[in-house]
Symmetry: C2
Subunit: 350 residues, 2 copies
């Protein structure tokens, strides 16, 4: 699962791991129906901002089924894009990916069938993500001191991207270079991506990992047992504010209080240059059952009210550095990201 892709295009179908079943079972879903992919994104079988972007791109290809006429394809592709855009509101990769796929509808004449253009674009999106992950890992590893004890939250490994991962790819890379002593993994309630996916992935790499409940992080930091915090991002705004899994903001404030570096790793595709600050990011609220039930077992009284945002927003002042495929970006973020955005206009980053 490392460095390679967790979302495969095979024989005109899309194949991916159902992440909700991990780590108990590794079950693959294979489909030629974009609605199945949309349902998998909504149901978190596919999750992680970059992975959602890649999967959505291939889902659009599925909408241009081989049998139909070119015009019918355009119509069903349009429908698929609209349908897919409604799955999850926070991760920007979904929207940037769909925007690129939509652009294929108006591809130049003589540039192959619509389906060909869509497939080439989806392949490109995935390939860029693979390269982006690799660059993030190579950049990020330079931030890790030898003998580090690291803390991470949620899951940012191979499964969460089209490539090798973001924050977790930095960690596994740092481990390979002998820099990591231990990784503390926040279990990441409500859906336990930390215990189910990150702890599992770290164990597969043979990395010393210790699981903690999310609220243990502060006490760990107080004891001087965390050298750096690394997390991913679902959307980064033009000023460097970061939307990421709920709990990230608490970790960021705690890290700042304990003078621990707080690194956010994400591909440039996760940066939404159109939004000025994090206050403008739509925050998805999830079904209350994700809190009142754990893997189908009820843990709270029947009928209790729940506040269940899937993400929170961490203001840029708490971010030590953004680790991107365009390199390490440091404060002041607004200036640095403005410069990056300008350079994107003139040259490809990934």
């Amino acid at each position: 699962m490392t460095g390679t892709t967790s979302i495969e295009w095979t024989g005109g179908r899309l194949r991916y791991v159902d992440q909700t079943k991990l780590p108990d079972e590794v079950i693959f879903v294979e489909t030629d129906d974009y609605r199945v992919v949309a349902r998998s994104i909504k149901g978190l079988e596919i999750r992680g901002a970059p992975a959602i972007g890649v999967a959505a791109a291939f889902a659009v290809v599925l909408a241009a089924s081989p049998a139909g006429a070119e015009q019918e394809h355009a119509k069903s592709v349009d429908e698929a894009i609209t349908h897919l855009a409604l799955t999850r509101p926070t991760a920007v990769n979904l929207f940037s990916s769909l925007k690129r796929m939509r652009a294929c509808l108006s591809g130049p004449a003589g540039s192959g069938t619509l389906r060909d253009r869509l497939l080439i674009e989806a392949m490109a999106i995935r390939q860029e993500d693979i390269v982006a992950c690799r660059r993030i890992a190579d950049s990020g590893v330079t931030l890790i001191q030898p003998g580090s004890t690291l803390l991470t939250h949620c899951h940012t490994g191979a499964l969460a991207t089209g490539g090798g991962g973001t924050a977790l790819f930095i960690i596994t890379e740092a481990h390979q270079r002998g820099l990591v002593r231990r990784v503390y993994v926040g279990e990441t309630r409500p859906l336990l991506q930390g215990s189910r996916l990150t702890a599992w992935e770290l164990m597969q790499h043979g990395i010393e990992a210790s699981l903690i409940t999310d609220s243990t992080a502060g006490f760990l930091m107080k004891q001087g047992r965390v050298d750096a915090v690394l997390v991913g991002a679902d959307r980064i705004t033009a000023n460097g504010d970061v939307a990421n899994k709920i709990g990230t903001y608490s970790l960021a404030v705690l890290a700042a209080h304990h003078h621990i570096p707080f690194y956010v790793a994400a591909p440039v595709s996760t940066i939404d240059f159109d939004l000025r600050t994090g206050d403008q990011i739509p925050i998805e609220e999830r079904d209350s059952r994700e809190v009142t039930q754990v893997r189908g077992v009820r843990v709270a009284p029947e009928g209790v009210a729940v506040y269940a945002p899937a993400f929170d927003v961490t203001p840029n002042e708490f971010v030590t550095a953004l680790v991107t495929n365009a390199g390490i970006i440091r404060p002041p973020f607004a200036d640095a990201l403005e410069k990056l955005n300008q350079s994107l206009g003139t040259a490809a980053i990934t």
Copy 2:
């Protein structure tokens, strides 16, 4: 369950709710064997610092069974105290309670049988706790502004004490006076005392309660949706440092960052005047299965390492006020608690 006792002495037996079964079932345990009580304390069927103190006192009475001779009673009481002291290390009420029970062994001649003296002392400990809870509620309610949205962690209601509760009793009292708009309840991983017990108790009172995952607290505060944080304590040291359920320290740092008052409610019996600072408090580590399993369902990979402290220590600088049965105590805590300790030498508080 409000204002009355959740631990009953009935027909020479001890009767209490098995808190691990709530809120699914309200199951009472009734026993005349102190070992069963000890197992219940260790297994968290009885939990909450004051409740542990009360239950342990009655368990000692059970050790002086009616049938034995006075000398045998002394021996088995001594054994029971030693046995009970090994159940849980952090809550000081257990030890202060057992110390009082041990003092009964050397009671004055002509002051009844040992069993009588023990029973009178256990009854006194419980009665003091009932009065202490009431005083805490009456004092604490003066801190709550009309229309407040409150945040609490773990469970500090009637079940956690011999009386009506500590922090949660303040909240229910404030609600009765029409001061509370909403209460956010941290679910309190790993054992979910927040969802299972606090949310349940608040719903029974008809209080608007919203359950959150523990890591949502910071984001709530950032949105200005928390007016005050109220928690209990398992041990408070002479300088005002507070050991309480894991996650309390994170909440305290977050509250300070957002300029939100952070109140700790506990009876004077929870103050350990013998310990200078929180660094000296032994912190219990729990079985890793409490994190890797939720109500018997596995949520993490087989064999993963876990760091599972049951408590953390919040330095006094993060505490706005201690709410005790001796009134509201404000910084500087070392001075105020020193004065309180001196007054305890001369007059009974409870």
